[in-house]
């Protein structure tokens, strides 16, 4: 009753807006939904071509092949490890640094920022980076993956900007008068107010690590340490290689090989579905940190 009255009380402009917005949302939903639905449909099909609304020959063969393979399972476990450990490490390194950089009374912060930004533009290249990791004794170590991408200049800038605009300068002054040092201030006051940016950073670092495969490919040698994204890549390459072999006429039994190519093609889609689902599930949990006014209220209080 209350809600209905509120809606009618809204001015006409608002109602029009809500309707248009609603239509837009449906459209956006459909546009995003269909291609994803298509991917799911293909993953249950016998063939990639021809499956638009329903699978072209329903089969679980793709999923069976994937789950039967132990590389996929170990890949999944590795990915989870790299993501969780990596995100924690990245947050610990990035957030305090970004906060420090946002403080106007921090002498030399622009120098540090410049120092970091240079690396966005100049890099040594693949071989020197590899030799570096090798000298540190980290080749084929899981730590190489965690440590070699601890933070990014982009995320530091974003987080710094957030702290800059949401933590007022005089807040620390007021706290210091009460005897609170930088450390305590950061942990007890800044962090609770920074749930949105922490959530965004966790998401950004998390997704980057979840999808990352190149660093893992060059620093790891053991198959058991490979993440799922790399397993997907390898599947892709074997399809391409097999197709190439068929093209070059190196396969005598072409139909047998073609069937394998087909199956591998479907497996690709299955792997995508399997590796994307966790990310899709996590996001709704993150959304509560983006709720309105979660931070302002605390400041006022």
């Amino acid at each position: 009753m209350e809600r209905k009255r509120k809606w009618r009380n809204q001015c006409r402009a608002d109602r029009i807006f809500d309707i248009v917005n609603g239509i837009l949302m449906v459209f956006i939903f459909a546009v995003c939904f269909y291609p994803l639905y298509y991917i799911v449909v293909v993953s249950f099909s016998k063939q990639v071509v021809g499956s638009y609304l329903v699978p072209n020959g329903f089969t679980l063969a793709g999923y069976e092949s994937i789950f039967q393979n132990k590389d996929v399972w170990s890949g999944y476990a590795n990915t989870i490890f790299y993501t969780v450990a990596g995100v924690l490490a990245s947050l610990v390194v990035t957030l305090p640094c970004a906060y420090a950089l946002s403080r106007k009374d921090c002498v030399g912060r622009n120098l540090v920022m410049g120092f970091i930004m240079v690396t966005m533009y100049i890099g040594g290249g693949l071989v020197p980076s590899y030799i570096n990791i090798s000298n540190l004794g980290l080749i084929n170590s899981r730590w190489a993956i965690i440590l070699s991408s601890l933070t990014t200049a982009y995320n530091l800038i974003l987080a710094r900007s957030f702290f800059y605009t949401t933590i007022p300068d005089d807040l620390f002054e007021a706290a210091r008068v009460d005897g609170c040092g930088n450390g305590r201030f950061f942990v007890q006051i800044v962090m609770p107010l920074s749930k949105p940016i922490t959530a965004v950073m966790a998401l950004y670092f998390g997704v980057a690590r979840w999808n990352s495969y190149f660093t893992e490919m060059i620093y790891l040698r053991d198959l058991e340490k490979y993440p799922l994204s790399l397993i997907l890549r390898r599947l892709l390459w074997s399809i391409e290689a097999l197709e190439q072999m068929i093209e070059d006429g190196l396969i005598e039994n072409v139909s047998h090989a073609m069937k394998e190519v087909e199956l591998a093609g479907i497996m690709q889609y299955c792997l995508i579905v399997v590796s994307t689902i966790p990310m899709m599930i996590i996001y709704p949990f993150m959304q509560k940190y983006f709720a309105k006014g979660v931070m302002i209220g605390a400041v006022k209080g």
């Binding site: 071509v49 080749i139 490919m217 190196l250 139909s255």
Partner: protein, 539 residues
């Protein structure tokens, strides 16, 4: 020429010497034994010295030696590793060497290889099929990462010498532009043909004979376009000509008498009477483009040929919508088994049927790290791979496991293992992961209808195209890269442009030829001619 004969003579003398001294094991090589362990020294006090390795007999080593090998995962089989192949256990048994295999898929190896080469501690002892580019092999050799094999082959490479003697291209294939050998190729003896197929049933349906020239083909296309050749009631869904745009070019070039196998993009070269010429400004090439353009404009050429994914082409073939395409028609995959291989087409500008074939070998499939602890053992192992039984195992598999012999006298075999029938190197278990020498007498008569037809009809016209196995020096590579990068892109753009009509072949041709020359086509031709002469030993 002189160099080659001298080498041959030396090889023959050494081979004879080796054959005589083989019985006596490698006693004379004791002094060369590297880092001999204490055991042999202390043993020497009481018994006669046992050398680490044996030349000319098996087992290769007399003490446990571990050799690390880096190779590629057998392509095409997702989730399999090279280490699973049965060949390693067999090799270990035969040679007494313990083998550790590290492997990656080709794409991964492509990225990882320069990194491994940059870290001496991580290098394996032997590199098998790591897809080294020829010039990279030379650079690695010169900069001290790969072992220079010349003297080792002379001393230990018995089987390799025999191979060089028997295959006239073997030495040229192995030696780099600076005159040294840093890696060994694998000689599989068979040539892959670039071929095309036509649908016989459609020809019968429209009442036409198999065309033998491009001009006749065009007439056939005209009829197909207006009739319902595939018999499905729709006269408009027939596509006369389609295929994979890359290999399609090779196929068309052969109809105008130009023999190019690889690459399929960029600058192409062919040679007549030992004179190298640049393909893409010749009149024959122009004729081909004109013919293709005519077909494109009249809708006979698949208008998606340059943009479609391979899955789409396959679907069209299966729906029996394509009359002619490059590649193999697999009877089981098409609803109508009308596929056939015609005699290679000729045309007004060329009257010899021609099918381009790949080189019967692959370069740089076996190389040894310079910092290996056991250079002689590695050379002996690679040399062993060229022996009859090892080559047979490497290429065809293990008898009783992968195949059984049905005709002893002629080595005709039947596939086991894969119940769909395979032969040797097509079996993913052992395939193509090391250098070997596949003797001519082992090449199988084709067992599938398709294979037989291909050999019978098109095999006689195959010629190996030389372009992809020339060896360049560093200076030449630099020049080639600078010219070919820009020129290649220009050529690719105009190849498609002339066919689709974006560029007018009548009006723009002269301008195009001039531009090619401006961009360095002539310099490039000179470089290729030098490399060609070097390869064939022409002074």
């Amino acid at each position: 020429m002189k160099n080659k004969t001298l080498k041959k003579m030396m090889a023959f003398t050494l081979a004879t010497f080796m054959a005589f001294s083989a019985v006596g094991c490698g006693n004379e090589d004791v002094t060369n034994t590297p880092a001999t362990d204490a055991t042999s020294e202390s043993v020497a006090e009481t018994v006669e010295e046992t050398p680490l390795y044996n030349v000319g007999t098996l087992p290769i080593v007399n003490e446990p030696v571990t050799i690390k090998i880096l190779t590629q995962d057998v392509t095409g089989r997702p989730f399999t590793k090279a280490a699973d192949a049965g060949i390693w256990a067999w090799l270990e048994e035969q040679t007494g060497i313990t083998i550790e295999v590290e492997s990656y898929p080709a794409e991964e190896l492509k990225t990882k290889l320069p990194l491994i080469m940059a870290s001496p501690d991580e290098m394996p002892d032997i590199f098998l099929r790591c897809d080294f580019k020829e010039t990279d092999v030379m650079n690695y050799g010169q900069n001290g990462q790969l072992l220079e094999l010349d003297s080792y082959i002379e001393e230990f490479g018995t089987n390799i010498q025999v191979c060089f003697d028997n295959l006239d291209y073997a030495y040229g294939a192995s030696v780099s532009a600076d005159g040294h050998i840093y890696a060994l190729p694998s000689f599989n003896g068979s040539k892959t043909l670039v071929s095309y197929s036509m649908n016989k049933e459609w020809l019968d349906a429209i009442g036409k004979e198999t065309p033998t020239t491009l001009e006749e083909l065009y007439e056939v296309f005209k009829v197909i376009q207006t009739s319902d050749a595939n018999g499905n009631g729709d006269a408009t869904d027939e596509i006369c000509l389609s295929g994979d745009p890359k290999t399609f070019k090779r196929m068309m070039l052969s109809t105008v008498g130009i023999n190019c196998y690889w690459p399929w993009e960029g600058c192409l070269f062919d040679a007549k009477d030992d004179k190298v010429f640049f393909v893409e400004t010749t009149d024959e090439y122009k004729y081909m483009l004109q013919w293709l353009n005519k077909c494109y404009e009249e809708g006979m050429l698949d208008n998606e040929i340059f943009t479609q994914e391979s899955a789409q082409l396959k679907a069209k073939k299966e729906a029996n919508q394509v009359f002619m395409f490059n590649g193999y028609m697999d009877p089981e995959n098409t609803p109508v088994t009308g596929g056939m291989f015609p005699v290679p087409l000729t045309s007004e500008v060329s009257d010899t049927p021609l099918i381009a074939a790949s080189a019967p070998y692959q370069v740089a499939t076996g190389a040894i790290a310079a910092n290996t602890e056991y250079p002689e053992v590695c050379v002996l192992l690679l040399d062993y791979l060229f022996s009859e039984e090892a080559s047979k195992a490497a290429y065809w598999g293990l008898e009783g496991v992968d195949y059984k012999v049905t005709d002893e006298a002629n080595f005709v075999i039947e596939g086991l293992g894969e119940k769909d029938g395979f032969i040797g190197s097509r079996n993913y278990k052992t395939a193509m992961i090391m250098p070997y020498w596949n003797r001519d007498e082992w090449i199988q008569p084709a067992t599938t209808e398709m294979g037989r037809a291909l050999n019978e009809i098109q095999g006689a016209y195959s010629q190996v195209a030389f372009q992809n196995y020339l060896h360049f020096t560093n200076e030449e590579v630099d020049q080639v890269n600078v010219i070919a990068a820009d020129l290649g892109l220009y050529l690719d753009d105009h190849y498609v442009g002339f066919i689709t009509g974006t560029y007018d072949i009548e009006k723009d041709w002269d301008e195009y030829v001039k531009k090619c020359q401006q961009m360095g086509a002539d310099e490039l031709t000179k470089i290729y001619q030098t490399a060609y002469n070097r390869y064939y030993g022409i002074e």
